[in-house]
């Protein structure tokens, strides 16, 4: 992953000033990153928490409540509040596990898929524009730095459910 080959080992990119810029870039970019889905959600009774739940259920259909808790890093009470509204509104469906009947496997309904689509279309549009403007090698660097910035556990979650998808 790490492509440490500056040759002259110029570490100028590690100055406090550069780090500060990176920090602020994360702050402002994250705002942009969430702005479009937020705009969609604010008309409905949902928030960012619902977006996250829907996103990860879509990514890993049939995932359990416990898995989702691990990925999202919130308490079950907090997640439950969100899931309950998604059940009630018919966006998410919970099926009792076949092997372990204690588990609830979560799936998006058609209605859930259409919300997910709307949200991720908006978010992907911005991401795509940024990628296109920056170009492939910048995107590569972007991903590399972000991965290095995650906690180890988060990095594992990040690899996703399917592995060999290249």
């Amino acid at each position: 992953m790490a492509e440490q080959s500056t040759g002259g080992e110029s570490l100028l990119f590690l100055t406090d000033e550069n780090l500060r810029k990176g920090i602020e870039a994360m702050f402002f970019a994250y705002r942009g990153f969430t702005a479009d889905p937020d705009r969609i959600l604010e008309n409905m009774d949902y928030g960012r928490a619902h977006h996250r739940a829907v996103h990860f259920i879509n990514r890993s259909p049939g995932t359990t409540v416990g898995n989702l808790l691990t990925i999202l890093g919130v308490t079950k009470q907090s997640l439950n509040r969100v899931l309950r509204t998604l059940f009630d509104d018919g966006l998410v469906e919970a099926r009792v596990g076949k092997q372990d009947k204690r588990e609830r496997h979560l799936y998006l309904t058609d209605k859930g898929h259409s919300l997910e689509r709307a949200l991720s279309d908006a978010q992907r549009a911005r991401m795509r524009a940024a990628y296109r403007a920056a170009g492939p090698s910048a995107v590569q660097g972007f991903r590399t730095v972000l991965e290095a910035m995650m906690d180890a556990e988060q990095r594992r979650q990040y690899q996703g459910p399917k592995e060999g998808s290249t």
Copy 2:
């Protein structure tokens, strides 16, 4: 900025799968990004909002309340709650403007500087580790993509108080 020179115009980096990975990378990385300062803050009576205020006052000493409102993108009521506790605890000082006496210019006190130091040391440490692991060209790409992901107004704020620092 944009270094679109793939030659063969291979747009494979714009697949939905790649965009999804970028989206999740932002999500997980942002968690890591805020984790260390959050740990420091949770012992005190402060939260992320205080961190942001202190950060930007430190970056632009003497900035006004109005400036801060623009940068942070929250309501004055929300910001005021935060600023009041920072005043009361002697971390931030407000001086009445000399030219325009309606304005309050904000400065960190010594105590404020020491909190800012603690928070930004923690955050910079993670950023530095990520930068170092990723290498200079990845960092370049990281910054390029993040800048492209911001809203235009945010991008202006991001340039910071000093201009010619390249």
